[in-house]
Symmetry: C2
Subunit: 407 residues, 2 copies
């Protein structure tokens, strides 16, 4: 007897036909005594259609009313999916976010879950029902409806799995697991059967798009295994959990991630005085710009002048340039250079802590492929290199071949 | 300073353009200190579209899930309408049935309101907001979403007006008030500026379709004046309330109603024994068939044989025939005759109690027009006659001309 939370996204419930497919699959795989909770998103285009209606009213709708509007999308999905289970003779009940006891703060359109009271879900499970819960939504202590923002339905599923002490949370998606590199870039990329929360978080941070960091963090917090698997096949996918089973330690490196949404910002000729870095990065923080890969190098030690190089996401490059140029002028720097033709390639693996050769191996692979490294940064479980954008795929392949040699 | 509840139906909020029209009208008519609560239905076709999705899943969906599904329709309307008020600079907030404190029993798809806790609405009004509430829906003590069935949004509006002790509940509709007869039948029909709850209930029972009896009863219970008025004009409509103001006593008769959805059932040659009527009508009651206008006449006093004639709605004529023929056979009656070519014409007016000439006047008007009366029945505030269906319009005109002579 297992308790399983399964999450299906908007494309999996885009039509009533697709809903029937989910029902058939879930019932075929369900053990007699299994307790199943299903979390779903809004049907295919529903959210876009609702946003279009809101746009007809005005360009800047209140977030509270927008959440009131958008949360209907999941409510439609859960009602129809529960009907579809009932139609197949499976007792089922749908629950909205508030009925499922999902309490959030009141930051509309990107609310955070603050607690889950699973008493209603548990009662329905005990009564032998399959429970269908609306993803992406919750309720404030003031009984206002909120939505959870990006990756919200995954977060709902993992948080519910945690609160219910589920055996596993299955996230059904259009890829069949987590790969050692993007399979579109590296054809020999291997599907990992297991990966740790921290590795998955680092992979996500460094550009792997399979899971939002938010739900992985939720899984780590509750220690819920997350099974990322395909909607289209019944093959097992990748299980994200705290530790590996023995046989999974084969590779020290879990994967090679890359990210094209990177811009390099160089502030040239910065006077070497205390407080300069603070001034620069606190201004960027105030503007809500995430900064990555900070490197400071000495340009001229006699004149006490440095260069500061860092990366931001490409989408924030323009905003960053304006802020940094203003500060550079104040400080009397030589100039500011923003380069959008860069990309980041990273290796991730909890095992690298005790293996000092990883960095050398990575740099060696890039060197042999004739690829120049512009900036290097490291974390406890990853090493990242900035390279020219047009050769990032070669960089990924070269590194992947080094750490995951073809059989 | 007035507290007004206004209800707009699905056709009034069918598009975002129409919502903007409502906003303009409400804001133009609103006094500075007025408190406004607006109750809305689902946008135009939303409910039909949702029902279509449910039909794709199965032919007999659970009522609970259907209510979960359909209640999204009003939720979409309230969010968009609140946005539209905000867009015009009017602070506004939308509330679902559960947020508005509308508690119902758990008879899904035709739930009854059991109580309203208006604390949230009052708080928002006090904060200077215009409150937009979802009609047609409520919540059970178990936090399950219900819908109120036919005329549900009107009922929501009147019940809220009662709970909030509103000055008036305005029902916006596609007719501009309650008329002394159906204006499509009698061109000289007069719009009544006032009518009592009981008269309106009797008019509704006897075929006038402007308001569902349910919300009129709610208004009577809470003693809330209901103003039935047009969405398309700013002219005042008809106010339904307990008593008239002085100058409204001009006409003893409030209106002439007619109903084509009538069938006459005659049970011929019924033995005159105790318990026969009970047997007949209790069987019909068990089958949930409403019986109206019962007349028993003596066919042959020597043989103790009677005829029993009554009416049912035309839509239940076939079902009635089966039940009645079975009983007639058991009792050894002569036969059963079902006649669908009849219609009912009625006069309604609380004033007729103290005016014995009304019935004579009505029969006289019909007689002068050469119209035969088949069955007569009376209540405290109405007199009804059954006539041939093809001349019901002449009957209405003749009676109307008698009681409301053209100026």
């Amino acid at each position: 007897m297992a308790l399983v939370v399964k999450k299906f996204g908007g494309s999996s419930v885009a039509t009533t036909e697709k809903m029937k497919n989910i029902v058939n699959r879930v019932l075929a795989e369900k053990g007699e005594d299994d307790n199943i909770v299903i979390v779903v998103s809004a049907m295919g285009d529903t959210t876009d259609n609702l946003l279009e209606l809101a746009a007809e009213i005005g360009s800047d709708p209140s977030r509270r009313e927008l959440d009131m509007l958008l949360s209907t999308g999941e409510q439609i999905s859960i009602a129809l999916l529960a009907m579809a289970f009932q139609e197949k003779g499976c007792p089922s009940i749908s629950l909205t976010g508030f009925q499922a006891g999902i309490r959030t703060n009141s930051v509309y359109s990107k609310a955070k879950i603050i607690s889950i009271d699973p008493v209603r879900i548990e009662r329905e499970l005990k009564a032998g029902k399959l429970v269908v819960v609306a993803g992406f939504q919750g309720i404030t202590t003031d009984q206002d409806i909120t939505t959870l923002g990006r990756g919200g339905s995954d977060t709902t599923a993992v948080a519910l799995a945690g609160a219910l002490k589920a055996d596993v949370c299955e996230i059904y998606t259009d890829v069949d697991g987590v790969y050692s590199a993007d399979p579109r870039v590296v054809q020999t990329a291997k599907k990992m059967s297991e990966i740790t929360y921290n590795e998955m978080l680092e992979m996500a941070r460094l550009g792997a798009g399979v899971m939002q960091p938010r739900s992985v963090e939720m899984g780590k917090h509750y220690n819920v295994p997350i099974h990322v698997r395909s909607t289209f096949t019944t093959q097992p996918g990748t299980i994200i959990r705290e530790v590996y089973t023995m046989e999974e330690r084969e590779f020290i490196i879990r994967g090679v991630a890359h990210d094209n949404n990177v811009a390099k910002v160089a502030v040239l000729g910065v006077p070497d005085k205390p407080g300069i870095a603070y001034l620069l990065f606190s201004e960027l923080a105030k503007a809500n710009i995430d900064v990555d890969m900070i490197v400071q190098s000495i340009r001229n030690s006699d004149q006490n002048i440095n260069d500061i190089v860092f990366t931001v996401s490409k989408t924030e490059a323009a905003k960053t340039r304006i802020i940094v140029e203003e500060i550079a002028k104040q400080l009397g720097c030589f100039g500011v250079d923003v380069d959008e033709n860069v990309a980041k390639v990273s290796v991730v693996g909890a095992g690298m802590l005790g293996n000092p050769g990883i960095a050398a191996n990575m740099f060696g692979a890039l060197g042999e492929a004739g690829i120049n490294i512009e900036v290097i940064s490291t974390s406890e479980i990853s090493i990242s290199c900035l390279v020219r954008a047009d050769i990032v795929k070669q960089a990924v392949s070269a590194i992947h071949q080094r750490f995951f040699p073809n059989e």
